[in-house]
Amino acid sequence: MLHDTLTTFRYQMRLLLREPIWIAIALFQPLLYLALFAPLLKPLVEAQAAQGAQGGFPTGDAWQIFVPGLLIQLGIFGSMFVGFSLIAEIRSGVIERMRVTPASRLGLLLGRVMRDTVVLLLQASLLTGVAVIFGLRVPVTGALITIVIVGLLGVSLSALSYAAGMWLKSEDALAPLLNMVSVPVLLLSGILLPMTLAPKWLRTLSAANPFRHVVDAARVAFLGNTGDEALLWGLLSAVLLAVGGVVVANRVFQRESA
C-alpha cells in the first residue's frame, strides 16, 4: 500500500510540475488572498474591536484574525476541485489501466491525496510567511498547529472530491455538487462573517458544522492560546474529517468502476 501510494504520488507530482501555469497559480493564489482580503476587512475589525468583543470577531490584531480564516479557505478551495483531474484521468483510461494492476486501490487514492496535501502545505506556509513579512505576529507553535489543521482539512476534502469524481464520472455532475456544498460550509464555518452576529438557529447549525470548530481552533492557535479547549475540539474535528473523508473515498475506490 505504501509502495503504491509513493508510486502514485511521484507520478502525480511530476504531472503537476509539468504545468508551469498551474505552479504560478498555486503560488500566486495565497498572495492574492492576502492582498485582497486584509485591507478590505481591517477597518471592520477595528470597528468591532472598538465596540468590545461582545458582537463580532474575537479580539486581536486584524492579521491574527484573518490569516487563519484565509488558511482554512485555502484548504477548502485548494482541495475541493481535485476531483476534476480524476475525471480527466478516468476519461483517458489511465485509472482503468492502473486498476488492472495488483496495486492497492487505497494506495492509488492516497498517492493523489498526498500530492494535493503537500502542495497545500507549501501554499499555507507561503501564505503565513508572507503575512509575517507584512506585519503578522504569530507564535511559531500556533502557526504550525494551524498549518497541520489546514493539512488535515486538505486530506479530507481532496479524498472526498476524488470520491465524488469517481462516483459521478462527469464534470457536468461534479460542478453543481461542489457549488451546492461549498457555500453553506463556508458561511457556517464563520470564515467570512462572524457567527456571533448570526441568529440563534443559524448559530446552532454552525456549531454542528465541523469546519466551524476547525476555524475557531485556527484562530485560537494564532492568538497563542494553546491551552484553550477550542483548540482541542478543532484538532479533533480536523482529524475526524480527514479520517472520515479517506474512509468514504476508500469505499468508493474499492467498488468496481462501472
Binding site: 509502495h3 503504491d4 511521484r10 504531472l15 504545468e19 483517458s92 489501466r97 486498476r99 488492472v100 495488483p102
Partner: protein, 328 residues
C-alpha cells in the same frame, strides 16, 4: 488458462436494463490466440472487462489464470496484462514515466523494469522516444505505448481490446508479428477482440463469433469457413434484391440466401457448375444482373449465415440496433 461459465452482465441505463453479455461459456487453453469477432456493441469489451476484474459479472463464474474471478481478483490482476480499447495514457506524462509507473504498480524490480522498458521500446518501434510526452505522439505511437504498458510485467495471459484500431498498415503488420512472437517465444496466451475480419482470420488460432451478447459460433478460421460447405455466389441486382431473393429461393440446391446492400448472396454446392442456372433463372424473371461473383466462403459469409447480417456493414447494423432496442 481461462474457463468461463455462463458469464453475464446487465447494465442499468436510463432507458432500462442493457444485457451486454447474456451468458457466455468458453475455455481458452495455454498458448492459444483466441479472437473475439463481432460487430460494435456485441459485448466483446464487456466480456474482457469482466475477465480482467474491471467489471463485476451480474451472473456466472470464471477462472482466469488459475484464480477465481470473484474470490481472488488481485490474483487475476497479478497474472494478466490488459490493453484497453480507448487508450490508457496521460497527455502530460512521458513514455518512460508511464512505463516506469506501470512497472512499479506491478512490482517489477527497478533494474528489471529499465531493461524491460528498453526491450519494449525497441520491439514496438518506439526507441528514442522515451522522453516524449504522450500528447506529442502520433495515434499509432500512442497505441503502441498502450500495448507496451500492458506487457511491462511479462504477463502470461494478455487481453487486447481492438489492438490494431488506429494503427497504420505497417504498424498493424508489425503488431501482428509481435503478437505471434508473444505466443511462440514467450509462451503467452492471448485473448483479443476485433471487428476486422482479416485480423481475426490472420491472427487467431480460434475465433469466437459474438453477436448481441452471445457467442454464436466458435472454431478455427478454417473450421468456421468449412461450416459453409460449398461456394458463395453473389449477384449484384441493384434495386431488385427482394425479387431476386424470391426467384433464387424457389430453386433447388440454393441455401442461406441473404441480402447485403445491392447484392443477393446464395450458398451452393459447387460454384463453377451451379452459378449459371441461377443466373439464367434471374434472367428469365427479368431481373437485370449487373455483376456476378463466385467465391470461397469467408468469415463474413459465416457471420452472415449465422446472424443474417454482414460484418462489413456492422457499424450501421449496430447503430440501427441501438436505435431500436429489442429488434433482432
Amino acid at each position: 488458462m481461462i474457463a468461463v461459465d455462463q458469464l453475464r452482465r446487465t447494465f442499468q441505463s436510463k432507458t432500462g436494463p442493457v444485457e451486454a453479455v447474456r451468458g457466455v461459456s468458453f475455455a481458452v487453453a495455454a498458448g492459444e490466440i483466441v479472437g473475439f469477432l463481432g460487430p460494435n456493441g456485441a459485448g466483446k469489451t464487456t466480456t474482457q472487462r469482466m475477465l480482467s476484474t474491471l467489471l463485476t459479472p451480474t451472473g456466472g463464474n470464471a477462472t482466469v489464470a488459475g484464480c477465481d474471478l470473484r474470490k481472488d481478483p488481485v490474483g487475476v490482476r497479478r497474472k494478466i496484462g490488459y490493453v484497453p480499447q480507448g487508450g490508457s495514457t496521460n497527455p502530460l506524462a512521458s513514455i518512460v514515466e508511464e512505463l516506469r509507473t506501470q512497472a512499479a504498480l506491478h512490482r517489477v524490480p527497478r533494474a528489471d523494469a529499465e531493461a524491460r522498458i528498453d526491450e519494449l521500446l525497441l520491439s514496438l518501434d518506439l526507441q528514442g522516444l522515451g522522453a516524449r510526452l504522450t500528447q506529442t505522439l502520433s495515434g499509432s505511437q500512442r497505441r503502441r505505448l498502450d500495448i507496451a504498458l500492458g506487457l511491462i510485467h511479462r504477463p502470461k495471459l494478455i487481453f487486447l481490446d481492438e489492438p490494431s484500431t488506429g494503427l497504420d498498415p505497417h504498424s498493424r503488420a508489425n503488431l501482428w508479428n509481435h503478437i505471434r512472437h508473444l505466443r511462440d517465444h514467450d509462451g503467452a496466451t492471448i485473448v483479443l477482440t476485433t471487428h476486422y475480419l482479416d485480423e481475426a482470420d490472420a491472427l487467431s488460432d480460434r475465433i469466437l463469433i459474438m453477436d448481441h451478447g452471445q457467442i454464436v459460433a466458435e472454431g478455427s478460421p478454417q473450421q468456421l469457413k468449412r461450416r459453409i460447405s460449398g461456394d458463395v455466389v453473389t449477384f449484384d441486382v441493384k434495386d431488385h434484391q427482394d425479387a431476386a431473393k424470391a426467384v433464387l429461393g424457389a430453386l433447388a440446391g440454393v441455401r442461406d440466401l441473404s441480402i447485403v446492400d445491392s447484392t443477393v448472396r446464395a450458398v451452393v454446392d459447387q460454384g463453377s457448375v451451379d452459378a449459371l442456372p441461377l443466373m439464367r433463372a434471374l434472367d428469365a424473371a427479368g431481373i437485370p444482373v449487373a455483376a456476378m461473383k463466385v467465391t470461397q466462403p469467408s468469415l463474413d459469409d459465416v457471420f452472415l449465415t449465422l446472424t443474417g447480417r454482414s460484418l462489413r456493414d456492422s457499424d450501421t447494423a449496430a447503430s440501427s440496433a441501438a436505435a431500436a432496442p429489442g429488434a433482432n
